[in-house]
Symmetry: C2
Subunit: 544 residues, 2 copies
């Protein structure tokens, strides 16, 4: 190519656009296929590998969870470990042997080996079909493996953990990647070749580097990086550069379009973020195990009450789920209880000063191990049976009103002696489309029973302070729920969201969001959230 | 009043609006008068009190700066200290004796006593005119006092520091408050009585509490609190509730109106903040000694370059100045150098990983004590004398261009062996209206000489990473500079800003702002700031 005249910029753009369209088509078609060869039914190693079951996976009782970054601390050799990781490459050495590279966060990688024996398969002996299956997993799929840590014959230089390797004995596919990625990890980790952000219309595809660097993998333009946002973020170089910051300006109304501020933005229209929800999920798709953010969020709601503001500070967290969504619930509950206990210890003087002006009772917190967690159904039952008369007929499939919440807070305080508690398993009618349905309940429940979600709220003095839960992590399941909510999956804002789940495999995850101003106000028992904000914004007030 | 029928809501609002207008008028008239009786010219204590001179104040050589919150650590009795504080009350006991209450941050208060003797005035003996002058200082003025710490006859229960008092020997007024405050501190520290935020139009005034609570000082509505934002923030209860968070939505284009995003906002128009500049200054007016913030800022600039984004994260700091603006310069310079040194120590692996993809040289930092600080004039002279030919005629009264900055960076590296340096004393033509002019230079300089400011930029590898300086803290001076920049002081956004300086006395202060994404990008030598942002926003790009 060096001799040929370089193609004109316009022609190059056109060619890139075409390449993208084709890549996108291929990717879409591929996503509908099984991502790798199916488990062979008569394989004696059946059960030790395959698509992850919906029920919890059973590992060896001796297996430990150890992160790769902790391999240098202590003796791991000979241990049986469980690793949840991105499979970034796989290759077969022979019909009996496959090598994979597994990656946790950043560039924490290790080599895995699966070796079939002719002995009967057991915990320590994969079968040939299992080896073949592992070698066929699409790169960037998310897997969980059980393996024994051993010393390689010689250091594995390609991997950051070079002095150990994993002898794989079980391997399950938690989230498959498509066969063709919009951008490979190798490309994502190369220098961006072009920062021109002129809009082209197409949405995916890899641009071959025009410079003649024949040795490396192709590099991509910034446009391609951003169109393949999850792969962009998975690149170790990108994870080394930046921390998560959700944007305020967004290109489409994200969650349905109501109560969103819109504004002219050069040749297009911009919207103000109503929450960092989609973006923190993109971080999980982008290979982070846990992220948090502190950022303003905006609600164009014409509510002139002491509980509402049009701009407030959102504290958000999102995390990978290892086994069960209750990991998210326990973590958030623990964080809040820790904060409530510490804040009084550290800021006693300030809190007492506030109480001298705005009297409030001390907050009752549960003893460790005595945390109160009600299901939504239990909470409604409590209200029906012991609450005020007007709540005698509250339903299990309808969200709680603010007066209901306050009445529940009084009942919980009286019965359980705590001002802080969790209400779990909200009905799907009360949650957005991305809330994961509770599979266990659905299977065993009667016809017409209320569908509930793995979603919860946390309350303080009868007021909601945190909303969280597990999110759907499979694109088809997501589309079903989006349609069930009467939203078109192809509508602006929604399409790009679902597309991220098709671009790559996304592990199970969940999280929660806190309104900082509200949690401060309710903790201190203030009469208005406007006192907790430093410059409260209401439908009528933008100054100072 | 208890017997009379309560006035209708509408009538009450009208009356309140009228009261506010009158209060505002009185306040404005008053601000133009001397805030307290003038120093008597034949007073032998002359020089120990009065309006602060523009030259540095000379204190006793033994005097120490000790904050009230540090009074409990160590033996302060008998020490001579310097305290910069808000004078919150003053009263005369007799012609020979005045009591004041002095407040630092929050509710850190102490009693001060000034006692005149008939002996010749000296360091330890105020005169009667001095006592009278101190007693006449308007509440909420900002003063600096030199005093001896002594034990009071009995504990001063009204003050948080109750077991000590200050025997005042010198007292200077740094920033006078008006005789009539829009809201007193006592009112600001009472519970807000009304959260109705219906706009009224008028901008100041105190509303008498309608409830019959005859014992306390009058309480005020949230509207009055927000219209008197500095007093609202000075209230200890408010400082105990919240930390500084600048808003993104603002009611007027702040700094001139260009490059600002605007949007429909219910019945009015809203703008997106271009910087937290005014708000961090309001915090200093509101009685904080130092504030910082991390918040998005927005620029509606149609610049499609690797250096520009329409949304980025601003790191901002603002602080009270004790003696000289170089305190701000040294602090910011020290913070940056500390970060640069630590970040390489802590994140060496990540930085080397980034360098393996985006090669960059190691950053040269100055040895402690060898920091490079050029004046703008020196920098331009260097460019003229030793820079590329095209910069042979750069002027001292014109801002540097990006190519000039880069050429300067190369020259400084070559001459001083550092990639980090400060350029100070920018010409007033290159700075916004709120930049404080360098008084010392103006006095001694020739007719027609370039007016310079106490403002600086900090550079890394020839690119600006921080902009900072001293701000004007007197409203009249501010108005002069606003007019000199061709802006109407009564224009939206500007009027409210100047008004805050009229509402209360604001101490000398300064600060700086950093673009987080740029500092990361230039530190790592990245080809575009878009790589440092997690979701870069450009005029053409809002997705994902």
């Amino acid at each position: 190519m060096d001799e040929a005249a370089p193609p004109s910029k316009k022609a190059a753009k056109k060619a890139e656009a075409k390449a993208r369209k084709e890549a996108l088509k291929a990717q879409r078609a591929d996503a509908r296929q099984a991502p790798s060869s199916a488990v062979e039914l008569d394989d004696p190693a059946k059960g030790f590998y395959g698509q992850a079951p919906t029920t919890p996976i059973v590992f060896s009782s001796s297996a430990e969870d150890i992160s790769l970054r902790n391999f240098s601390n202590g003796n791991v050799e000979g241990k049986t470990i469980i690793l949840r990781a991105w499979l970034q490459t796989s290759r077969t050495q022979s019909a009996k042997m496959a090598f994979v590279e597994l990656r946790e966060e950043g560039n924490w990688t290790i080599q895995g080996v699966a070796t079939a024996t002719s002995e009967p398969p057991s915990r320590s002996h994969p079968s040939r079909p299992m080896v073949r299956w592992i070698a066929g997993i699409n790169p960037e799929s998310f897997v969980v493996v059980e393996s024994e840590v051993q010393r390689p014959i010689e250091p594995v230089k390609r991997c950051r953990v070079s002095n150990f390797e994993l002898r794989i004995t079980r391997c399950y596919l938690l989230a498959p990647a498509p066969a063709i990625l919009g951008m490979t990890l190798a490309a994502a980790n190369r220098p961006v070749v072009d920062f021109d952000d002129e809009a082209i219309g197409a949405k995916a595809g890899v641009k071959e580097e025009e410079e003649t660097d024949k040795k490396g993998p192709p590099a991509a333009s910034m446009l391609v990086h951003l169109d393949n946002i999850a792969m962009h973020k998975r690149a170790p170089v990108q994870q080394a550069i930046a921390e998560f910051e959700p944007p305020s300006l967004i290109g489409a109304a994200s969650e349905g379009g109501s109560n969103v501020f819109r504004m002219p933005y050069f040749a297009q229209e911009a919207f103000l973020a109503q929450s960092p929800q989609f973006y923190k999920q993109f971080e999980i798709a982008g290979g982070r195990k846990r992220v948090f953010s502190i950022a303003p969020v905006f609600r164009a709601e014409n509510s002139n009450t002491p509980r509402h503001m049009t701009e407030f500070t959102g504290l958000d967290l999102e995390m990978e789920i290892r086994n069960d969504y209750s990991e998210v619930l326990y973590l958030l509950e623990g964080v809040l209880l820790y904060i409530f206990r510490q804040v009084y210890r550290i800021f006693k003087d300030e809190i007492e000063l506030v109480r001298s002006v705005y009297p409030s009772s001390e907050i009752l917190l549960p003893e460790p191990g005595q945390e109160v967690r009600l299901t939504f159904t239990q909470a409604q039952q409590l209200l029906r049976e012991e609450g005020p008369a007007e709540f005698r007929h509250v339903r299990d499939d309808e969200d709680m009103s603010t007066p209901q919440e306050k009445a529940l807070g009084a009942l919980v305080r009286q019965k359980f002696n705590t001002d802080f508690y969790v209400v779990d398993k909200f009905p799907e009618t009360a949650r957005p489309f991305y809330a994961k349905l509770d599979d266990t309940a659905a299977e065993g429940s009667a016809e017409g029973a209320v569908k509930v979600t793995n979603a919860f709220d946390m309350f303080l003095r009868g007021q909601e302070i945190l909303s969280g839960g597990q999110r759907i992590n499979h694109p088809d399941e997501l589309e079903v729920r989006i349609r069930a909510k009467g939203i078109d999956p192809a509508s602006p804002g929604i399409d790009g969201y679902v597309q991220v789940f098709r671009q790559v495999g996304v592990p199970p995850h969940g999280g929660g969001g806190i309104g900082l101003d509200r949690i401060v106000a309710w903790y201190l028992g203030l009469p208005s959230v406007h006192l907790a904000a430093y410059y409260p914004r209401t439908p009528r007030r933008l100054l100072p």
